[in-house]
């Protein structure tokens, strides 16, 4: 497969580009505290400003998108669809598997993270895959797929522009939708110039072009494409993928093998449910009318089709999901990973995604991380919120994040993790107080936040999205130690 590799168009990236000096092999969850991680981001003035700006922008676009429509009815419909799908998860998965297999998809079953890594590594070994293009997948972050594949001799190219930067920097994504929210153009410029071996123009356009050329070469020579999946459609066996750059579809179209790693909770009953979920995923994610590329595929290339992979594998990932079914945290499985709750969270807006120590940041990260990684490792995250409820108001599928966070706190208190929590809350609070600017920002959030934000043209205090938040809920940043 690699004979004609070097002469196909695009510009090969220099060897070793994906092996930066610093590799994020282990998540920091176990080795550092929330406050320590938060302090790292807060020490970088750019990151703090950029995160706040970008999240303001996203929140404002979301609000604007649904003006003049019955947004609430749409969210309620979406909530019901997700609740129904999750309440009947085994049946819909069964149906999805039947349909997918009928269309030639090879389905694999990963009960936990290590099994997911083993399965994908095995496919790579069996099929002699040595070069992989990858489209952004949070599930693959969850299972640390890249390092497992590198261990069996696979070169991986993250093809989402932001993820490509993250990979080359040895960083971790800072936001579920915008992975390099916390990075400057100068940092990207420095990185790409070093990779290119000469100084590139310090402009987003030129930097993007550099990445495109390198990744184009990778697309044209990869043995396999690995993606996640935004939804699985039970009635048709479809895997749905949305991207704005087009890298998702190229990943699943050009290489001879497509492997998708998808969490089991992504199932929707019918294609028509997309008419409800897609506008919400996009509108709450980026504020667009629709994501530029929405690709829905079932099985490999069929007879008579001009292009497409010869094999399609889907790895269904449980890894802690089924344990939430039927319990008080089941609603966390309704999440469609739009990132909106991060954008409005006063804590996330200060500390960024890395502080949460694992894959997901913001309110949904504070809920999912303790549930997936355990109270012992991550219980403190439930304290990393102000309980202001802004996340409830913005969530497109109406997950009661506020209640889930309270329940988590209660549970971890019952399990006797109190002292560490208090330490964390205090440390967070102290971080904020020790920095005058930050303090002012946090009190703006805590007291007049909506008015302050609205004055900057950010959100309207009358926004239906934030109605409940504006109803006078008490806002507190951190907790004073008792």
């Amino acid at each position: 497969m690699s004979a004609t590799r070097e002469d196909v168009g695009g510009t090969p990236l220099p060897p070793g580009w994906a092996k930066p000096a610093h590799q994020p092999d282990a998540f920091e969850l176990t080795t550092t505290t929330f406050a320590e991680r938060a302090a790292k981001t807060m020490a970088r003035p750019f990151a703090r400003g950029a995160i706040a700006n970008a999240t303001d922008h996203a929140a404002a676009l979301t609000t604007a998108r649904f003006v003049g429509t019955d947004h609430e009815a749409l969210r309620e419909e979406a909530r019901k669809i997700r609740a129904h799908a999750i309440a009947n998860l085994p049946d819909y998965l069964d149906q999805w598997i039947d349909q997918a297999e009928r269309k030639g998809t090879i389905v694999h079953y990963a009960a936990d993270e290590s099994e997911a890594r083993r399965i994908v590594a095995q496919i790579c070994t069996d099929q002699q895959i040595t070069r992989v293009v990858k489209s952004k997948s949070m599930a693959s972050e969850e299972v640390s797929l890249n390092s497992a594949l590198e261990a069996v001799g696979v070169d991986i190219y993250e093809t989402d522009l932001g993820e490509f930067v993250v990979q080359a920097m040895g960083d971790r994504p800072g936001h579920v939708i915008a992975p390099i929210l916390h990075r400057t153009k100068d940092e990207v410029h420095e990185l790409f110039s070093a990779m290119a071996g000469h100084e590139l123009p310090n402009e987003a356009e030129a930097l993007t072009a550099f990445a495109r050329e390198g990744l184009r070469h990778a697309f044209l020579t990869a043995d396999a494409g690995i993606s996640g999946g935004n939804f699985l459609i039970a009635e048709t066996g479809d895997v749905l993928l949305v991207t704005n750059e087009g890298n998702g579809r190229l990943t699943t179209s050009l290489p001879p093998i497509h492997i998708a790693l998808v969490g089991i909770e992504k199932v929707l009953p019918r294609r028509r449910d997309l008419a409800v979920l897609l506008p919400l995923l996009t509108g709450h994610g980026t504020g667009q009318q629709i994501t530029t590329y929405v690709s829905v595929s079932a099985g490999p290339r069929r007879q008579g089709e001009p292009d497409g992979p010869e094999q399609m594998h889907v790895v269904l990932l449980d890894a802690g999901r089924s344990a939430l079914l039927g319990g008080e945290f089941e609603e966390a499985l309704h999440c469609i990973r739009c990132g909106a709750c991060q954008n409005v969270c006063p804590v996330y807006r200060q500390v960024g995604g890395h502080a949460y120590g694992w894959v997901y940041g913001g309110p949904i990260g504070a809920v999912l991380t303790p549930l997936f990684r355990g109270q012992e490792e991550a219980g403190e995250l439930a304290q990393a919120t102000t309980l202001c409820g802004a996340c409830d108001d913005v969530c497109p599928v109406k997950i009661p994040l506020h209640d889930l966070l309270l329940n988590l706190r209660r549970r971890s208190d019952a399990e006797g993790h109190v002292p560490r929590h208090e330490q964390v809350a205090f440390a967070l609070w102290a971080q904020v107080w020790s920095r005058p600017l930050l303090y002012r920002a946090s009190t703006a959030v805590a007291r007049g936040s909506l008015r302050a934000l609205a004055r900057n043209g950010v959100v309207s205090a009358k926004s239906p999205l934030l109605r409940r938040w504006t109803a006078g809920r008490d806002l507190v940043v951190g907790k004073r130690p008792r």
């Binding site: 909530r79 915008a178 400057t184 993007t208 629709i290 590329y293 001009p306 292009d307 497409g308």
Partner: protein, 218 residues
């Protein structure tokens, strides 16, 4: 190795959560991705497509070939491929391109060689539908192929008036997707990224130059 039976059994063994029932109302709730009362489909399609940075041309059937040719001349495209879903207009387009001094290939011939497909300057495709309220064209693996509509820096898509549906509900409830093959895709404007300091860049991995030709009934 976990197999299907044990994987599903583990999930089935959990208690069952609250089921509000699958909503199945005939009237879908209001969404920005639906046609509004009084709107004409081609007009909304044009407005939404333009909002997503697509360049829209509204023509009658006789002008399709000339429109395609002028876009490709302007884009200075040399390596051009047509996909099979262009069928009703393929001959006209082919003739107009030849008249303009351009050479054309069939995407089905180019596609098996990734390197050749990756070196195309432009593709011209049809579609299986267009969605007015989202400004999207819907392409299929069976027609434009999986990558036919986004492999080259310039993409021209031709849609006939009667192929336009109002919104997403109409698309998924209708039968436009029935013969799509192994993939269908909604594509709405140029490839884009705002990853670097929120600066919007068009044409990242897919085309930056995207044209939609809406063909009015004669």
């Amino acid at each position: 190795m976990t197999d299907r039976a044990s994987f599903l059994a583990a999930i089935r063994s959990t208690p069952r959560g609250l089921d509000p029932g699958l909503p199945d109302r005939r009237e879908a709730p209001d969404a920005p991705t639906q046609l509004r009362a009084g709107e004409e489909r081609p007009d909304r399609l044009q407005a939404e497509a333009e909002a997503a940075s697509t360049i829209v041309h509204r023509v009658t059937a006789v002008d399709v070939g000339a429109t395609v040719a002028s876009v490709l001349v302007q884009a200075d495209a040399q390596r051009i491929a047509l996909t099979t879903d262009l069928a009703p207009f393929a001959d006209d387009v082919q003739a107009a391109l030849v008249a303009a001094g351009l050479t054309v290939t069939e995407y089905v011939e180019v596609a098996p060689d990734r390197a050749r497909a990756g070196a195309l300057d432009a593709t011209v495709t049809g579609c299986i539908a267009a969605v007015a309220a989202t400004g999207s064209v819907v392409t299929s693996a069976a027609g434009a192929g999986r990558a036919g509509a986004l492999i080259a820096p310039t993409h021209i898509c031709v849609v006939r008036d009667e192929q336009i549906v109002g919104g997403l509900h109409e698309l998924f409830d209708g039968d436009a997707l029935a013969e799509a093959g192994s993939l269908f895709a909604l594509q709405s404007g140029p490839s884009r990224s705002a990853d670097i300091e929120k600066v919007l860049i068009l044409g990242v991995h897919g085309p930056g130059n995207v044209h939609l030709i809406i063909v009015a009934p004669d």
